[in-house]
Symmetry: C3
Subunit: 472 residues, 3 copies
């Protein structure tokens, strides 16, 4: 092992410095929100009035997705299962506690304090998902310090983009296709572009799976699959909107899954199934329904979106990923551009179509709740009229469907640009000399950063000629 990748000093230094920073910031800025503060004596237990009861069940589902779903899915390499699962654990944990602070400043800050409740945790898990998706682009080629640095930089860059888009461009994106999936994807591609390793373009001897790692990875896919409706619906408007988000997500995933099986067999030389397709392409539908997940797109549209997203994702893996690696120096290890980029673009386009097609005839007056920026502005007599039908309707910006569609387009381009630039800059920081970056030979190998059990090298050497003599 080369001394330059020892974590002995680097990792503790990084962690302890950040813990001191975080203790200082939490101490000065973080307090309880109204529903977690004893002083207000409300003991509020109505589900829709306290994020503990409204959001915690979805938070728990997303926890499983983040830690077990991503964790198992990223453990698909034969000699990199420890790293895939455990670096995911480390990166996710750090990203969430950091996002609570950073998003707190942007979204939950008033009276000089960040007000903390379960809703903050839920938002932070979404920010964490952004980091983990980007992680997929550089999996196997980065060490834990690099990943923590990536989280350290990506969280604030994401939070400011999210804040700017939501505050100034104001979009509809309930499932996060634009802000989560497109941002994460292009950030990850930006970073991996900078971290380009020409020697790995022809593959690496350890870039392979094992029977057990493939099964483990499918389990990760299944954890993501079963709870994806919770993910896509967690931050929607409650009531029928959230209800539709669950239905559309389920249908999109469902059609996407059977399409992935069909395409996998169809384009395999011997007509067999490929586990990588089942691990990744099946999930495309969950992203593709995202931007319009709470709208009245009709169930069949969700079904069709699943098929479209899956198809784009599948051919992306087949043709675009090799092209990006060989022509554009973008080595996208897990193919996040297929699963999050292409699908995100389709989803955003579908969202725009849904916005353009939305009419009061279909939605009734609650159209102005879902498309809140289309609600009449303060003072408009139409607002008072609508408020008689929907008490508590908030004034909007009085945008037309076309205007809202243009803002969505602006948000897509702005997000992609911000993400790509942020990713490139972060990539340069990750490339700095003291980041314990693995050498090309040590990529995809748990031994670099882990004490491994004695059967690890038996795996490496199936004939076992050396294993008993050279125990690790």
């Amino acid at each position: 092992m080369s001394a330059s990748t020892s974590l002995k000093v680097r990792l503790p230094t990084f962690v302890f410095v950040l813990e001191i920073v975080m203790i200082a910031l939490y101490a000065v800025f973080v307090t309880y929100d109204d529903n977690s503060n004893a002083k207000l004596q409300n003991n509020e237990t109505k589900p829709m009035e306290n994020s503990m009861y409204r959001d915690y069940p979805y938070f728990a589902d997303v926890q499983v997705m983040i830690f077990l779903g991503f964790g198992c899915l990223l453990a698909f390499f034969r000699f990199y299962g420890f790293s895939g699962m455990v670096f995911n654990f480390l990166t996710a944990t750090f990203a969430i506690q950091w996002a609570i602070l950073i998003q707190g400043f942007f979204q939950f800050y008033h009276d000089g304090k960040i007000h903390l409740g379960v809703i903050n945790l839920l938002n932070a898990e979404f920010a964490c998902a952004v980091v983990l998706i980007s992680f997929g682009a550089v999996l196997g080629k980065t060490g834990p310090v690099q990943l923590l640095v990536m989280a350290l930089l990506e969280i604030p860059l994401f939070a400011v983009t999210e804040w700017a888009v939501l505050k100034y461009i104001r979009i509809n994106d309930a499932g996060g296709s634009i802000l989560i999936h497109l941002y994460a994807c292009y950030f990850g591609l930006g970073a991996t572009f900078v971290l380009y390793r020409p020697n790995l373009n022809d593959g690496h001897p350890k870039e392979t799976t094992s029977y057990n790692s493939d099964i483990l990875s499918v389990m990760g896919t299944l954890f993501l699959w079963v709870f994806w409706p919770s993910f896509n619906s967690a931050l929607t408007f409650k009531g029928d909107d959230q209800h539709r988000a669950v239905l559309h997500t389920f249908l999109g995933l469902s059609s996407s899954t059977i399409t992935a099986f069909a395409l996998s067999a169809m384009f395999n030389k011997r007509g067999k199934l490929t586990m990588a397709d089942i691990q990744n392409v099946t999930l495309a539908g969950g992203v593709t329904v995202g931007a319009s997940v709470d709208m009245m797109i009709s169930p069949v549209a969700a079904y069709a979106l699943g098929i479209m997203g899956c198809t784009a994702c599948f051919f992306g893996y087949k043709f675009l990923t090799p092209f990006l690696a060989q022509r554009l120096r973008i080595q996208d290890q897990c193919g996040i551009h297929n699963l999050h980029g292409l699908t995100g673009l389709i989803s955003s386009t579908a969202g725009i179509c849904a916005i353009l097609l939305a009419t009061e005839e279909t939605y009734g007056p609650s159209m102005y709740q879902i498309f809140s920026h289309r609600a009449p502005p303060e003072g408009d007599p139409k607002l008072l009229e609508l408020q008689q039908l929907i008490p508590g309707l908030k004034p909007g910006l009085g945008r037309t469907a076309q205007e809202q569609a243009l803002f969505q387009v602006a948000a897509i381009f702005a997000t992609i640009a911000a993400a790509a630039v942020g990713g490139v800059l972060t990539g340069f920081v990750m490339k700095l000399p003291f980041m314990a970056s693995p050498s090309d030979e040590s990529c995809f190998d748990d031994q670099l950063f882990f004490d491994v059990p004695s059967d690890f090298d038996i795996q490496l050497d199936p004939l076992h000629l050396n294993s008993v003599y050279n125990a690790n």
Copy 2:
């Protein structure tokens, strides 16, 4: 590999044809239900008024059971883990989207439309469980096209049986012992009877487990175990009925589990535990309490039912499964007749006893809610009296306990007959020549339908004499 099992054309053809059919049917027939439709502007968030809030938590639990529980449990073969887990994924996904349509026509169809909400998804997952249980009978001996055909036929056959039994015979079966477990079991046995493979009666060299596959399968058992109370209580009457369903299921599973350990050690030659017993027999109690799960049977009865079901299941595996295979040409691969058939029969009998013993003294007037067919019919003065005690009580059929018991008996026989006939017919379709059925030698072998990683044949050849020379 024989060309006749290539999925290259068959699987995509099947999937794409069905996707076109489904897109057409979803487009024409499926719309939102009242609680997922924006136009009604209700934004209903009261848990008992919107299936999003009433049913989604149970739906999420059942999702874990279907995809991770069954998926891991069925991955218990050493060389068939990919197939067990992944065919379960494919079959379940297809079965659910198909069941949404088919059950929709029977149960949620009015004004020319199927009205879609989370409750439909939950019902469809139950129909899917039926298919997956039947799948257990033919595991290892069927390809993915056969399994999709099985789902394609079993879902409508099940849906019509379910509809007929609920509409015309009208039974109490909260946990689905009759409609789910007995139907699934006898359907599966019917199919496997037709698919009989005489050469496999003496076992197959690959019909074996590995250390890792056994552990994986126990994890599947545990996923089913922990969420079974949600499964059995998801469709019960809310309030105390659902509460009892959880309690009884937990107690039944609990006593069943320790009994399974005791019997496993007792009937093992060397007094050791057998993993297959722990993977299967422990779960018997969950089925056995099913038919009476919401009734006032008393906690001790649930406990005793768990022991009885477990004992029947255990001896079924020991004596009945070999007998069925060798004498009756019924090769029941996972022993579904033990875990779902025998236990389902005990459960149905216990349900009948509970019906016969039910009195107003024990249940109070809410007896007519649980046993809704015993409620007085429209116009009966007793109905008005009861409606003063229980506002909103629906008129029933005025059946006596004895009458209801006879209808239960009729339902049991009708269900078993419909299932067996349906299974036999489906078996004939699955046997048609273009179904990519594996040859006897290729059974229980992932290589037939999957690209396998390079360590797969190391598993096949523990001495590794050939593996490095003949890499896959």
Copy 3:
């Protein structure tokens, strides 16, 4: 295999005798509680009024922790994965059904009956967690009969301690740091002290992990991690108290996790990560926030407690566990003294500090709900005053903060003493000759109690020289 460890007679005898006892006790004593009894016709579905709706979601999360979390975590030994996961399943199941009865007599007994609802199941799962933590001390060195005996004795000893502490000493311990973690830890240490095996002090050749067992164990850690907020908040006062419990648990776990990574790399000779640290030390924060989890300790305090608990736990593994084993004859197999003992002591101390610092200024009048023993006693005019602010406030004991702190100290010592004595006594019973205790050589070996698949001895003999000739 030595005949003396056959389970053929012992295990069935134990199980069947206990099942008869339990059937008798359940028949005579167990009935439904108000919310699961049909006769009361309440059909109560308001979440806060029926433990089905209030507690079942947390119960389901704890189920996953108990059966999958502990089950996978304890399967970390290479040759002891069956035993770790399956003995956990057996012990947990028995412990819960036994605890329902025993705790029922202490906490839910009135009118000659134990009244059963989901709340009893939830309490019983907590008692079960106590047994499973103690199990960690003796893992690998005990057979299933010994473990059942341990559960049989520990449940009543725990229940009486819990009852006495709650009824007579009256403490604040929402997350169970004192009653669950300290009790479980010192009970386990007491038992393992008696079961001391001097020959194992220098290690055992099978006391090792494998690549797959390490990953499986991390999955167990992740299951515990993601649902720990549910565990710590399940039994708190509802509303803002439960909300804070979730927030503090998440923050404590979160800081604990990154600290564990830092310490693991820092104290590893080659600057690598150690899987055992990631499997265990990461979780320390969940215990450390326990005793003050529902108090207004501020988010930063939860964060700091996570770091402190993790640090103590880490150094405990490094220095204290070897010391205990070699000097004090206490072989703590999984290091429960680090993960539950040291952290429990820190947590208890933090709880005392939080009690001493609690003021009406911070908590408002709801201070008397959280610290219910500080509420004015019946008849005190201050009580009436407070009841106008908080309707339904229950009279307390009028304790001062200092008095409450002293009672906490008393409870800590009383709990530790009761646990240690109980553990020692239980250890003597477990050591009796007919308990099927494994010989020193057979420790950490699944073959003793399980029929193992044929690849088990390939694992034992990586060169495979003997495996094909001496198939099991």
